[in-house]
């Protein structure tokens, strides 16, 4: 072990520790599972508006679960920290990348809804989706210093192209959910493992400090 005090490493570890509770992994996993319902719902005679409504409702539900978990389970166990200006700037960049990504996704969805194009007939957006996922998660992993997000970029990139190939070969829209289920499931499992480990490593602090007070 190096005897040096590496302040940058201390800051990095403190920041990364906020991603070790597994909630981000579970959130991203469930979000991908929700997205996986997108191509399947129209095959169940669901209108475009209903499909978008269901997807939105599930997305909000997943976000709420994440928020509640952070607020009531992990933050009280881990404590609250505000990072310095450099880290805040990186967080801002990550948010900007995510915002652009969501904007692009919404535009794609709206265009698709307006043109009423079948998923199988639009192979190009599948590759756009894949590239976008790799770029967005790559930038996120870089700015947030969380290396497993690079792998999540791949897990997000694969389902749509793979699903379209499955659809083209079998003609069964329901099968499109399968690759989404596998990728999302992997992330959820990683999240659950991290979450259990987190609960074990960070028991609820004594009453005297449970609100972060000395």
């Amino acid at each position: 072990m190096s005897p040096d005090i590496n302040l940058k490493e201390i800051e990095r570890k403190a920041f990364r520790s906020t991603f070790q509770d597994g909630l981000w992994d579970m959130y991203l996993g469930f979000l991908l599972l929700t997205m996986g319902m997108g191509p399947v719902l129209p095959s169940l005679d669901t209108s475009v508006m209903w499909t978008l409504g269901i997807l939105l409702a599930f997305s909000v539900l997943v976000w709420l679960a994440f928020w509640v978990g952070k607020k009531f389970i992990t933050t009280p166990r881990m404590g609250l920290v505000k990072f310095g200006p450099q880290r805040k700037a990186k967080l801002k960049k990550t948010r900007a990348v995510l915002f652009l990504s969501v904007l692009l996704a919404v535009i794609t969805l709206v265009l698709r809804a307006m043109w009423k194009v079948e998923w199988a007939a639009i192979p190009i957006p599948a590759y756009v989706w894949a590239v976008q996922a790799i770029v967005v998660f790559g930038l996120g992993a870089y700015f947030l210093d969380v290396s497993r997000f690079y792998a999540y970029g791949m897990l997000y990139a694969m389902p749509l192209p793979v699903g379209i190939v499955l659809l083209q070969n079998t003609g069964l829209p329901g099968l499109m959910f399968l690759p989404f289920g596998v990728s999302g499931g992997i992330m959820v499992i990683i999240g659950v493992v991290l979450f259990i480990r987190f609960l074990r490593d960070y028991p609820i602090p004594a009453e005297a400090v449970s609100d972060g007070n000395p």
């Binding site: 404590g79 609250l80 972060g212």
Partner: protein, 109 residues
């Protein structure tokens, strides 16, 4: 021939080391607060591995020296105590690091 003696000025950097910071637990606390904007008591306890009593006692000493400041804020109507390094504490920590570097510069093998 008289044995050459070490002049007091040679050892002066050691005498100048801030003893308040030099204590390992307080050094941990200050190192952590140096790299973040602020953190609450639970966060510092988790990251340093200190017990509640230990951390509380060191915090009081650092606060009395003016090295850290305690900010009370309300989050969802609950009081939360955030701790941050003061400008004085930041300067003292930098000075401590410089003094330590000076002491161990050109350490013979």
């Amino acid at each position: 021939m008289a044995t050459p003696r070490i002049g007091s000025e040679d050892l002066q950097p050691i005498a100048n080391i801030d003893r308040l910071i030099h204590e390992p637990a307080r050094l941990m606390i200050l190192s952590l607060l140096y790299v973040v904007e602020s953190g609450d008591f639970t966060f510092l306890m988790r990251q340093t591995g200190l017990t509640w009593g230990n951390l509380s006692s060191h915090m009081s000493k650092l606060e009395a020296a003016g090295y850290i400041e305690v900010e009370k804020e309300f989050v969802d109507k609950k009081p939360r105590t955030m701790l941050r390094l003061t400008d004085e504490g930041r300067a003292a920590f930098r000075e401590y690091v410089q003094s330590m570097k000076q002491v161990f510069d050109d350490l013979p093998d």
